[in-house]
C-alpha cells in the first residue's frame, strides 16, 4: 500500500519525492520519463521479466528493473546512461531474434509495443542478431474468439498473469524452461478444449501479435480506427470499455477493457459478452426505419408519420378511456436520460403512474425489501469492497456466469483468504471455491435464512450494541425465528443441520462479512421476504455499513439500477420519491410545469398484462423490452398483446414482442448515443456515442423528445447532458451528478451536491429510513405456490448462461457467440437422466401446466436430483412457456425459480 511518507531520490540529476511503496516505473512514466517496457501492466503485479525498463542505480552492481525496484532514501538513478541504452539494445535484439519480421500481415501492426521499440532502437532495420528464421510453433485458432501465434511471443507472461491474477482462470502457465519456454495451456491443449471462458483479456493485454482477437482480424488496421471510452451495454457491473471503431465503415473493430477505473473492472477485465458481443450493431436484422402496420404488414414510414400517428393514437385513447388506460414499459438497457423522459411522458403528459420496467422481473423484491428494512433498495457496498470481506455468503447468485467480472473478484477474494459459503440448489462454478456449500431445495431460501439467524441468536453471536443503537424491532424477529431450529430447517430445505450451524457461526463470528445475492433470492413469491430475511441477518450481526460488510444484490442489466432511480417505477418519482406524497407531487408539478400528476400508484409490469386482459389497459408503450420472452407464462402475454387497441414498440431489432405492435420505432443501440448508466454499485457512468445511428434509426431520447412535442409538451433538450441537468434538479440523490463531474470516473449516489464525492458505502452511521434506524421485520417461510407432484415431478429453475444475454436479441446475433452456444441446453441430473433413459444431447420435452418446450438435454451434476434448469435466452425453446405467473404480493415479482414440470424423451417419430 502507498502511504503518506515520501522518499527523496535523484533521477538523472534532479531531485524527486516519491511516495514510499510507489512502483518506480509508474513514477517514472507519470513524470514524463521515456522508459521502455513490455511486461508491465497497471492491472498486474510487476515481475521484471522483459528487462527493458532497467535503470542504473548508483552503488548497485547490476542494472535494476524499475518495475520491481525497491526504492531507498537517497537513491541515485540514471534512466538513459550508455550502459542502460546498451543493455536495452541487447535485450531487445534477443527478443527480435526470436520474433518473425512479418509486421505487414500482423493484426497487431500499429499497436505493437515490440514494433515500436524496434523502430525506435534500430531505425536501420537491423537489430543485433537479426529476426526469427524458422517458425517453431503451430498457430492455435481453435477458439471462436482468440488466435494464438506463439512465434510472436516475447515471454512477457502478461497473458499468464492476467488469466491468473484478474480472471482467476489460470488457463495458461509458462511451460518448458529457459530459451524453450512459452506460455501454454495444460498439456498444450488447443484453447477451445480448455476451460477458457473467452474473456479475451489475454488478447487485450498481449503487447505483440502473439494473441489476437479472431473476429477483428482483417477488419481494420490500427491506424484506421478511433477509440471511445464507454460503459459496457450488458450486465450491471458496468465495466468501462475502450471501443475501437472504423469511422469510415461505421463499425466496431474491437473492444478492450479500459485501463482507467480499476475500481469497476480491474483496469482490464471484460467478459466474453462485453469483449466480443458487439457485432450485432450492424446486423442486417437491425430496424433501420420506423414501421407502421398497414393491412397487417409493417411498412417503412417517415419519422414524422410514425410519431404523428403515435401521438394521435395516444391522445385518442387517453381521451376515450382515461390516462390509466395506457401502460408504459421502459428499459433497463436504455440510459437514465431516456428512462427519465419516458416516465415523464407517462406522468406529466398522459397523467398515469402505469410505468414500470424489467427490474420487476429481477430485483423488485430487493427494492421493496431493502427499502422496508434499510430505507434504500440498492447494493450497500462498492464492487471492489468484496475483497475486504472475511466471509462471503453467495446465495442465489451464479456470479461467474451472470456477473463474470465481479465473479472473478469473488474468486480472487477467496484465493486471498476470504471464506466463501455458497447457498444454491445448483452446483455453480463458485461451489468449487466454497468452503461450505448448502445445497438447498429450490424455494426454501427463507427457511434457511431464518434458520441461520436462529443459530446466531441461540449461540448468542448477535451484535447487541449494533441492534440497540442502530435498529428497531429485533425482539419480534427473535420470536419469529424461534421455530427455525436447524432440525426444522433441515427438514424443509434438505440441508444438513451441521452445515447450517457452521455457516451461521462462520458468518456471525467473522470481523467482516458480505452477503451477495441475485435472482435465486428475488424471483420467488417470497422474494421480498427473502430479501428482508437477509437484511435481518446483516443487522443482527452488525454486518452492514462498513468496508467488507454489507448486503449486496447484484443487478443484472446495464442500467437496471438507473431505470428505477429515475422513476420508471409505478410508485416512485425520480430519486425514489413516493407518488402518493403530496409534497412530492407539488414539487414535480412545479418542476415539470404541469397542473396534474396522479397520486395513485400505477400498475407493475406483470399486473399490466392482467389489466390488458380485463380491458382496463388499452394501449401499451414498450421501450427496449421483450416481454413475450422475458415474462412468465408466455401464452398469457401473447394473448394480452393481441388484445391491445394500440401498441408502440421501440427497439433495435424486431423480436417476439414487436410483432404485436402497431408502430415500431427504430431505436439506436447503446453504441450510437450519449447518456449515462447507473451500475450495480450505484455508480453513474457515461455512455458515449461511438458510431453514427445505424440506418434511419434514432437514439431513444431523441424519439421521446420529438414525441413529447407532438403530444403538446414543450421539450427542447439539445443533448442528454441537459436531461441529466434536469434529473439532478428533481432527484436529491443525483443532485451532485453532472457530465463534467463524471467525465473520467463515475460517482456513486447518494451524491447530494456538487461538492459531494458520492457515497461508496451506504448506512455507515445511520440507515436511510425516516428515523435513521434499521427495521427488523419478521418473515415466515411458506411453501412455493407450485411444487413437484406425481404428474409434474421435477422442479424447474430458469436463468442465464455465460455466453448468452437475456432474451438473446443482441448476443444471438453475434456470430461467434451463437456458434458456441447455438441451442438451449436443458440441464438434468445424471441419476434422473438414467431413470428417464435420457442421454446427453437427446431431445427432451419439458412440460408444465402452462405449456411445453423441446430441446437437447445436458446431463450434468450442476442440477441436483429432481431439478431441471433451462436458460431463457432461446426463442425456439422458450423457458417462459413453462413458468408460473404467480407473483410476490409485495414486489409483484414472478416466481421464475420454482415451478413444477415433467420431462419426457422425445422419440424421433413424435417430432412435429
Amino acid at each position: 500500500m502507498i502511504n503518506e511518507k515520501t522518499l527523496s531520490i535523484e533521477i538523472d540529476g534532479k531531485n524527486y519525492n516519491i511516495p514510499e511503496g510507489k512502483n518506480l516505473l509508474e513514477f517514472l512514466l507519470e513524470n514524463g520519463f521515456d522508459i521502455p517496457h513490455l511486461c508491465y501492466h497497471p492491472a498486474l503485479k510487476s515481475i521484471g521479466a522483459c528487462r527493458m525498463c532497467v535503470v542504473e542505480v548508483e552503488g548497485s552492481k547490476n542494472l535494476v528493473t524499475s518495475c520491481t525496484a525497491e526504492i531507498r532514501e537517497g537513491m541515485k538513478i540514471k534512466t538513459n546512461s550508455p550502459l542502460v541504452k546498451e543493455s536495452r539494445e541487447v535485450n531487445l535484439s534477443l527478443l527480435l531474434k526470436d520474433h518473425p519480421d512479418d509486421c505487414m500481415t500482423c493484426d497487431q501492426n500499429g499497436n505493437c509495443a515490440l514494433q515500436d521499440l524496434a523502430y525506435e532502437y534500430f531505425p536501420s532495420g537491423k537489430p543485433l542478431f537479426g529476426y526469427m528464421k524458422e517458425k517453431r510453433y503451430e498457430i492455435d485458432d481453435s477458439s471462436e474468439f482468440i488466435v494464438r501465434d506463439l512465434n510472436k511471443c516475447i515471454k512477457c507472461q502478461l497473458c499468464v498473469r492476467v488469466c491468473d491474477e484478474v480472471e482467476g482462470m489460470s488457463i495458461y502457465s509458462m511451460v518448458q524452461r529457459g530459451h524453450e519456454s512459452y506460455p501454454s495451456t495444460f498439456m498444450n491443449l488447443p484453447l477451445a478444449q480448455t476451460n477458457c471462458v473467452s474473456c479475451g483479456e489475454c488478447a487485450s493485454i498481449c503487447p505483440t501479435g502473439a494473441i489476437v482477437e479472431k473476429p477483428s482480424i482483417g477488419k481494420a488496421r490500427w491506424n484506421k480506427v478511433e477509440k471511445v471510452k464507454t460503459t459496457c451495454l450488458y450486465c450491471g457491473v458496468g465495466c468501462q470499455i475502450d471501443v475501437y471503431f472504423d469511422p469510415k465503415k461505421n463499425d466496431i473493430v474491437r473492444i478492450q477493457g479500459s485501463s482507467e477505473n480499476r475500481e469497476v473492472n480491474d483496469a482490464i477485465a471484460t467478459c466474453v459478452k462485453g469483449k466480443f458481443g458487439y457485432s450485432f450493431v450492424n446486423h442486417p436484422d437491425r430496424l433501420k426505419s420506423p414501421l407502421l402496420k398497414k393491412n397487417g404488414e409493417f411498412v417503412p414510414v417517415t419519422w414524422d408519420e410514425a410519431l404523428d400517428y403515435t401521438a394521435k393514437k395516444l391522445i385518442e385513447i387517453k381521451e376515450k378511456y382515461g390516462p390509466d388506460s395506457i401502460g408504459f414499459l421502459s428499459s433497463a438497457r436504455c440510459t437514465n436520460e431516456e428512462n427519465y423522459l419516458l416516465q415523464k411522458i407517462a406522468r406529466a403528459i398522459i397523467g398515469t403512474n402505469n410505468i414500470d420496467h424489467c427490474a420487476r422481473l429481477c430485483h423488485a423484491s430487493t427494492v421493496a425489501g431493502l427499502s422496508m428494512t434499510f430505507g434504500a433498495g440498492a447494493m450497500t457496498n462498492p464492487i471492489g469492497d468484496i475483497e475486504f470481506a472475511e466471509v462471503i455468503i453467495a446465495t442465489g447468485t451464479n456470479t461467474t456466469e451472470n456477473h463474470p467480472v465481479y465473479g472473478s473478484r469473488v474468486k480472487r477474494a477467496v484465493r486471498n483468504g476470504s471464506h466463501l459459503i455458497v447457498i444454491d440448489p445448483r452446483k455453480i462454478e463458485l461451489v468449487d471455491y466454497a468452503e461450505l456449500w448448502l445445497r438447498n431445495l429450490p424455494g426454501t431460501d427463507l427457511a434457511i435464512l431464518n434458520g441461520l439467524l436462529n443459530v446466531i441468536i441461540h449461540e448468542n453471536l448477535i451484535d447487541e450494541e449494533f441492534i440497540s443503537k442502530r435498529t428497531e424491532g429485533f425482539e419480534e424477529v427473535k420470536k419469529a425465528v424461534e421455530k427455525y431450529t436447524p432440525s426444522y430447517v433441515s427438514k424443509i430445505s434438505g440441508v444438513d443441520e451441521k452445515k447450517l450451524v457452521k455457516a451461521a457461526e462462520m458468518y456471525a463470528k467473522a470481523k467482516t462479512a458480505s452477503i451477495l445475492y441475485a435472482m435465486g433470492i428475488t424471483q420467488h413469491v417470497s422474494g421480498t421476504k427473502n430479501v428482508i430475511a437477509i437484511a435481518n441477518l446483516a443487522m443482527a450481526t452488525g454486518k452492514i455499513g462498513r468496508p467488507g460488510s454489507g448486503v449486496n444484490p447484484l443487478r443484472g442489466q446495464s442500467n437496471v439500477q438507473g431505470a428505477g432511480d429515475v422513476g420508471c417505477l409505478p410508485n416512485l418519482f425520480p430519486g425514489n420519491q413516493p407518488v402518493s406524497k403530496e409534497s412530492v407531487i407539488e414539487k414535480f408539478k412545479m418542476a415539470w410545469n404541469v397542473e396534474y400528476l396522479s397520486d395513485k400508484n400505477g400498475l407493475t409490469s406483470v399486473e399490466m398484462f392482467d389489466a390488458i386482459m380485463n380491458g382496463k389497459i388499452k394501449a401499451l408503450f414498450v421501450m427496449g423490452e421483450n416481454p413475450v420472452m422475458s415474462h412468465p407464462d408466455e401464452s398469457h402475454v401473447r394473448k394480452a398483446l393481441e388484445k391491445l387497441e394500440f401498441m408502440v414498440d421501440m427497439d433495435i431489432f424486431p423480436n417476439d414482442t414487436t410483432k404485436y405492435a402497431h408502430v415500431i420505432l427504430a431505436a439506436s443501440s447503446g453504441f450510437e448515443k450519449d447518456g449515462t448508466f447507473t451500475n450495480t454499485e450505484r455508480r453513474v457512468q457515461r455512455v458515449r456515442k461511438v458510431l453514427n445511428p445505424v440506418g434511419n434509426s434514432k437514439p431513444d431520447w431523441m424519439i421521446l423528445k420529438d414525441l413529447m412535442n407532438r403530444l403538446g409538451y414543450n421539450a427542447h433538450y439539445e443533448s442528454p447532458k441537459e436531461i441529466m441537468e434536469e434529473i439532478s434538479k428533481v432527484s436529491p440523490i443525483y443532485a451532485g451528478i453532472s457530465y463534467d463531474r463524471i467525465e473520467h470516473k463515475g460517482i456513486q449516489w447518494p451524491c447530494r451536491s456538487i461538492d459531494d464525492e458520492g457515497t461508496a458505502i451506504l448506512h455507515q452511521n445511520s440507515f436511510s429510513t425516516e428515523n435513521g434506524l434499521g427495521k427488523f421485520i419478521p418473515v415466515e417461510y411458506t411453501e412455493p405456490p407450485e411444487i413437484p407432484d406425481e404428474e409434474y415431478p421435477f422442479y424447474l429453475s430458469t436463468g442465464r448462461i455465460l455466453y448468452q444475454y437475456h432474451t438473446g436479441t443482441m448476443t444471438r446475433r453475434v456470430k461467434e457467440i451463437n456458434d458456441l452456444r447455438p441451442k438451449v441446453e436443458i440441464e438434468i441430473n445424471p441419476e434422473d437422466a438414467k431413470d428417464l433413459g435420457i442421454k446427453d444431447g437427446d431431445i427432451v420435452r419439458v412440460s408444465s401446466r402452462r405449456g411445453s418446450i423441446e430441446g437437447p438435454a445436458k446431463i450434468t451434476e450442476r442440477s441436483q436430483k429432481g431439478l431441471v434448469f433451462i436458460p431463457f435466452h432461446y426463442a425456439e425453446s422458450p423457458a417462459n412457456m413453462l413458468t408460473l405467473a404467480a407473483i410476490d404480493p409485495i414486489a409483484k415479482i414472478p416466481t421464475f425459480k420454482v415451478s413444477a414440470v415433467k420431462i419426457e424423451k422425445v422419440k424421433v417419430e413424435d417430432r412435429v
Binding site: 491468473d164 482462470m169 489460470s170 488457463i171 495458461y172 502457465s173 509458462m174 511451460v175 518448458q176 524452461r177 501454454s184 495451456t185 495444460f186 498439456m187
Partner: protein
C-alpha cells in the same frame, strides 16, 4: 477419470500420500516425485488429479512438470537405463554403448520395451567421468568402463531377476 480414481490402487496410494501431508501448500514438487515413483511417469490424468487434490491450476502443474527434466510424461520401463553421453563418455564411445543397449532391447528411442521392463534415456554426465563410458540402471546400479560386448550380459541379469519373481 473420476471412477478410475476411485478404483485404481495407484491413485489411492497417491491420495494417501497427499492426504498425509501436513500442509498442501508448496508441496507440488514432492507430490510429483511421489506420483512418478508410483506411476512411473506423469500422464495428463495424473497431473489433472494432482491439480484437483492440491487445489492448484492444472496449467501450473504442467508448467512444473515440463520445467524439470527429471519429470517425464511418457511411460518408462521398470528399469530406466541412463546411458551417459557427457563429454568424457562420448569420447570413450558412449554412443556405441547406447546403440548397443537399444539394439539389445529392440527399441529405437526412449519408448519402453514391449514387456515394460526397460527404457533408455541418453543423459549428460552422471558424474563418474573417470570410469567412462558409464551407465545407470534404475536408481542405483552403476556400470563403468563399459564396452558394447558387456551389454547383453548386464541386461540378461535383470531379465533373470524378473523371471524368478
Amino acid at each position: 477419470m473420476e471412477n478410475q480414481t476411485l478404483t485404481d490402487p495407484k491413485f489411492a496410494e497417491l491420495d494417501e500420500f497427499i492426504d498425509n501431508l501436513p500442509d498442501k501448500k508448496g508441496m507440488l514438487i514432492g507430490v510429483l516425485h511421489k506420483a512418478q515413483e508410483i506411476f512411473g511417469y506423469l500422464p495428463a490424468e495424473v497431473q489433472h488429479h494432482i491439480a484437483q487434490k492440491l487445489d492448484i491450476p492444472e496449467s501450473t502443474v504442467f508448467g512444473v512438470v515440463t520445467f524439470y527434466s527429471f519429470f517425464t510424461m511418457k511411460p518408462r520401463g521398470k528399469y530406466q537405463i541412463k546411458v551417459c553421453l557427457g563429454t568424457a563418455c562420448y569420447v570413450k564411445g558412449g554412443q556405441k554403448i547406447s546403440d548397443r543397449v537399444k539394439e539389445e532391447l529392440g527399441v529405437t528411442g526412449d519408448e519402453p520395451t514391449s514387456d515394460g521392463l526397460f527404457s533408455v534415456q541418453e543423459v549428460r554426465c552422471l558424474g563418474a567421468c573417470s570410469m567412462a563410458p558409464v551407465m545407470l540402471v534404475g536408481e542405483r546400479d552403476f556400470y563403468g568402463r563399459l564396452t558394447p560386448d558387456k551389454i547383453p550380459q548386464i541386461i540378461e541379469s535383470y531379465r533373470r531377476k524378473e523371471n524368478k519373481k
